[in-house]
């Protein structure tokens, strides 16, 4: 139900002709990034130091987004929204549904995120754009995570991100890199709860993305996300993906990726597709 509602809103905002909105913001095309599976602005699986939408100094912006990840034995559906102000603060919300296609059943999680730009700028000056953020996650289906050894049904991730663009990078293309350090004890980003029988304390993990813009509308890139391994019942592995992003206008962006999620809940080699659609206004 929620999935369809979010989808309808997205369609209404992007495709219905004659519906007009205020200026979409002054930040340059694509610099708002895409929407991650946790709701924050960024790549696909890594939150970036950039803020969602095109809200520049003195402006407000918002996004709504839907994402689907389909790997061999699981399917993740995400509906999210974000609000940004002044190229300074971003508040985001995401609802995740993780369909255990093979095992049977479903896991759900809600994520409330806040991100603030501390200093620097993605495009201008020598410093990278540096932001701090938090993601408060509440698992809505804790029976299974609890049964496999998770200790908490909610927790908060904290992260520090730095992002920089090189306008005239290799091959005279614009390149963007982002690195994120996250303090977390989430199992499979929280879908399997927080903390566990092997390790119950939070740890720092590293995440990174690199993208090259073929032109200002199309980008290709890679992402990597390190993850904790807190549960004895199954190995948890790092995630990675290769993506193509399309920014036809400041109103809409589309990201497609081939993703490798490693082993999840004892089922190895989970690879598949990722598709994300964002409307900004």
């Amino acid at each position: 139900m929620h999935k369809w509602r979010a989808g309808m809103v997205l369609v209404a905002f992007t495709l219905v002709p004659g519906v007009s909105f205020a200026d979409s913001g002054s930040k340059l095309l694509a610099t708002g990034g895409a929407s991650t599976i946790e709701g924050a602005g960024g790549g696909g699986i890594v939150p970036w130091a950039t803020l969602s939408s095109y809200a520049d100094v003195g402006e407000w912006g918002a996004t709504v987004n839907v994402s689907e990840v389909a790997v061999d034995d699981f399917r993740l559906s995400v509906q999210g929204a974000s609000l940004s102000w002044n190229n300074r603060v971003e508040v985001s919300y995401a609802r995740q549904t993780f369909d255990l296609s093979t095992i049977g059943g479903e896991l759900e999680q809600n994520i409330l995120g806040v991100k603030a730009r501390l200093f620097g700028d993605l495009l201008y000056g020598n410093l990278p754009q540096v932001s701090v953020g938090l993601q408060h996650k509440s698992n809505q289906s804790f029976a299974l995570p609890s049964a496999v050894g998770a200790t908490e049904d909610s927790d908060t991730d904290y992260y520090l991100s730095a992002a920089k663009a090189w306008l005239d990078g290799p091959f005279h293309r614009t390149w963007v890199a982002n690195v994120t350090a996250r303090r977390t004890r989430a199992n499979q980003i929280g879908l399997l709860g927080f903390g566990g029988d092997v390790d119950d304390s939070a740890e720092w993990v590293a995440e990174a993305s690199v993208a090259a813009f073929i032109n200002r509308y199309w980008a290709v890139g890679v992402e990597y996300r390190q993850k904790p391994d807190n549960l004895s019942f199954a190995d948890e592995q790092d995630w990675r993906d290769v993506f193509v992003a399309y920014f036809p206008s400041k109103r809409v962006s589309i990201v497609g990726a081939y993703t490798d999620l490693g082993s999840i809940a004892g089922l190895d080699d989970q690879t598949g597709w990722y598709l994300s659609l964002q409307a900004a206004f």
């Binding site: 002054s26 930040k27 340059l28 095309l29 100094v57 190229n87 201008y124 005239d168 005279h172 293309r173």
Partner: protein, 134 residues
């Protein structure tokens, strides 16, 4: 041997970007047209047009054209004030700066400047940010 060297030279030529950046922008005439297009778009942009109130726009056009021509290695001298002096007290914001950059990019697209050349010019102009924005 000669044929081999000729083939190698032909294969490598595109990588060396045969044309200079100045040439790819269409030399002084092309740069002038791009700047004109950019300023025309600025004139219709209520976010930033107020910065040009009471300004001699023909003079602005001449100065920006000279400056772009100069930074891309063209045979031009920039005859205006430094960026810091000419923007002092104007209150140009990050958003205003981005708006102008966007108009420049669209102007270059309209004049079919290749992406590589667009990026090279933007990279040469971006360092002016610190002197222009308050």
């Amino acid at each position: 041997m000669k044929a081999l060297m000729l083939t190698a030279a032909l294969l490598l030529t595109p990588l060396a970007s045969a044309q200079s950046l100045y040439d790819q922008l269409g030399q002084k005439q092309g740069i002038s047209a791009i700047v004109e297009e950019m300023l025309y778009r600025v004139g219709g942009d209520e976010r930033i047009v107020h910065h040009f109130d009471g300004v001699d726009i023909m003079r602005v056009h001449q100065l920006i054209t000279e400056q772009v021509c100069n930074v891309v290695g063209g045979p031009c001298e920039y005859s205006g004030e430094s960026m810091r002096v000419s923007h002092e007290g104007m209150g140009v914001t990050h958003a205003d700066f981005n708006a102008l950059v966007e108009h420049l990019i669209v102007a270059m697209e309209k004049h079919e400047v290749p992406v590589a050349a667009q990026n090279q010019l933007l990279a040469k102009l971006a360092p002016m940010y610190d002197d222009i924005v308050e």
